[in-house]
């Protein structure tokens, strides 16, 4: 798919940036998993966390994961595009990295030291009423998020600008030239997907920035007040899109790299163009399903929420998932670790997406909203979707273009431990959701209704055991990954 003339020196420089991102992810990710482990242990009454600490952990786990997963997903796109499609500025790349890093460290300070504990969504006006943390930690956390948002915006705008220049117009990035008659240059699928993912990303970060600036203003001028329903719409517009955009960045690599294993081209055609343009449209409006239980929200918006959520299943499955099936079916390919992780990532996306679709049915949502069913489905497509895409990409990056085709028994052993641990962990979430166990509860001891307290507590303990398995799987995968990296370093000594 490479259409770029690039020197080995330039490629090595881009690879170095990609590896810095990767190593940062590999350090941060298990730490955030451990915060999640503590939360489940506390819910299982195995450890005793102070309530403020529990919710501070919850806030850092949510914001930290969303931030680091998007960052590495974006960094992966950056690497693929900068080494194969068009030159990108390393200066901008490092600016994004260091600004996000500073933002991330400030966020950790605001939450873990300052005890900012308003949840990832800091649902307005929670940070200003009955807060158990100091105003400064709200300010530090808001500034930290604004910093990360600015960095991502700069990175996205630079990448889209470079692609627009390369393909002679923005609409060409959306594949609209395929809908007209006549010859046109081939558009790599990763470019189309990156565009569809990153434009809503811009909307999301702008919405998030507006919201955070409003929060900051109120911390300095407490007499200010904003409309809570508007703020909630902004919050979920931002959060829902960030998660979707992260997922699509990962899907972008799968489109780009899978053909190297199947030896079948994954071309952009009219169907793919229609599909991804429709996806663009659906992800912008599907966020409304987060507000189903706000009965004061205009009814038409509730209908739009369900209709758009349902419709988003069409391009995702009929085009993308069938696309990977067409890639693999009877291809006589070797199941090395990248295609294995990519296919399982698609599987996690499909299963989590299905559970999400069920929950986006308003009539069912009334019985599942804010129960553990919600983290169940988004952890499915994040942990068993995005994280698997990321590890597939990391193995690709660390092994090199030849090494990735090797067997890698250790890496696969880690992968299976990770997958078994993750699905066990997820199953506990799903069972809890069906049993009405609410989400964002430090523990369930205050619930008198039926068996909810006992069920929630017991399932949290089982979930914690599966998290240990996840960590063990990670450890084995890390062993394999770093063995590959150090071996390559010796060989190429960059």
């Amino acid at each position: 798919m490479s259409t770029l003339e690039i020197s080995q020196v330039e490629k090595k420089k881009e690879r170095k940036l990609a590896i810095i991102w990767a190593v940062t992810f590999l350090i941060v990710f298990p730490l955030l998993v451990i915060l999640g482990l503590y939360m489940r242990l506390n819910q299982g009454k195995v450890v005793e966390l102070d309530y403020t600490k529990f919710y501070a952990f919850m806030t850092m786990h949510g914001l930290g994961m969303a931030g680091v997963l998007f960052s590495v997903a974006f960094a992966g796109l950056w690497y693929l595009i900068s080494t194969r499609i068009t030159r990108l500025s390393l200066g901008v790349g490092y600016f994004v990295y260091f600004t996000v890093l500073i933002g991330f460290l400030a966020l950790a300070y605001g939450t873990l030291i300052g005890n900012f504990a308003a949840g990832w969504y800091m649902l307005y006006p929670l940070p200003f009423k009955g807060a158990s943390w100091a105003t400064w930690s709200t300010q530090v956390s808001a500034v930290a998020l604004i910093l990360m948002g600015i960095a991502w915006l700069v990175g996205i705008l630079h990448l889209l600008y470079a692609l627009t220049k390369r393909y002679g117009g923005f609409f060409n990035l959306l594949g609209w030239q395929y809908l007209r008659k006549g010859d046109h240059e081939k558009l790599p699928s990763v470019v189309l997907i990156a565009t569809v993912a990153l434009i809503p990303g811009i909307f999301a970060f702008l919405a998030g920035a507006v919201m955070l600036i409003m929060y900051l203003l109120q911390t300095f001028e407490p007499s200010l007040a904003f409309n809570p329903l508007l703020m909630k719409n902004l919050t979920f517009f931002f959060g829902h899109m960030l998660v979707n955009v992260t997922l699509y960045c990962g899907v972008g690599w799968v489109y780009a790299l899978m053909p190297e294993f199947t030896k079948r081209e994954w071309k952009v055609d009219k169907v793919v163009v229609y599909s991804w343009n429709a996806t663009f449209f659906f992800i912008v409006f599907a966020y409304l399903h987060h507000l189903y239980m706000d009965f004061a929200q205009p009814r038409s918006m509730q209908y739009i929420g369900q209709i758009f959520s349902y419709m988003s299943a069409v391009p995702a499955t009929a085009v993308t998932m069938f696309g990977i099936i067409a890639q693999v079916y009877h291809s006589k390919m070797k199941w090395s670790i990248f295609p294995l992780m990519s296919l399982f990532g698609m599987m996690g996306w499909a299963i989590g997406g299905f559970a999400a679709l069920v929950d986006t049915t308003i009539a069912i949502n009334v019985g599942l909203h804010n129960t553990l069913w919600v983290p169940a489905h988004f952890h499915t497509y994040m942990l068993m979707g995005v994280v698997l895409f990321i590890f597939g990409y990391l193995f690709y990056l660390f092994s090199g273009e030849e090494g990735i085709h090797l067997k890698n028994v250790t890496g696969k052993a880690g992968f299976w431990l990770f997958v078994i641990g993750a699905y066990g962990f997820l199953l506990m979430f799903y069972l809890s959701g069906i049993n009405g166990v609410p989400r964002r509860f430090a523990d369930y001891q205050g619930i008198e209704a039926g068996h909810v307290k006992e069920t929630g507590t017991q399932l949290a303990r089982y979930a914690a055991m599966f998290i240990y398995l996840i960590l063990l799987g990670l450890l084995v995968m890390y062993w394999s990954l770093f063995a590959k990296l150090t071996r390559r370093q010796k060989a190429s000594a960059w």
Partner: protein, 193 residues
Amino acid sequence: MSSITILMTLQNLAGVLTLAGAIIVVAVVIFVISSTSKEEDKDAAKHKVYSVRTRYFFGLCLVLIVGLFISLRLLPYPRANAVADETVSIVGVQWFWKMANGERTTGPLEFVGSNEVTVPAKKNLKFVVTSADVNHSFGIYNSKGVLVTQTQAMPQYNNVLYHQFDEPGEYYVVCMEYCGQTHSYMVGKIHVQ
């Protein structure tokens, strides 16, 4: 069939549907992986997959349209012509519930209510739900631990929820929206007689 039984069925339905969906997805993955033991010309393979895709596309659209048609008639929102037998006012406050029979005549802050309220069974009740501070969510569980219904309690807004309790007994109010430090203990009781 009581509304609780319907809801039970819906929650179980969510589990059953998802399990069925997951089994299908896993079966497809296993089938696709096992297919790679044999090689087929890429165009022939693609043709086979895309002919299935066409059928899948129309099937999925049909399922989604039918699903929308059925489910959008079962919304929990108040109907324009809804008539209540009784009104119950609910105000969420960090970290307890103020509940009282009748319309609320004061602001949420001044409103006086209790963490427990008694209501009649088999009557169409109108819950007018709001908050005096941050977002809460008014979730009602029955004595078996089934989440029966819910609506958000948002400051500055009244969310109106109609509900009829078909079975007398104890029902439990649980805050379903994270609202700060002792959110998990923000509970109340509804006695249905």
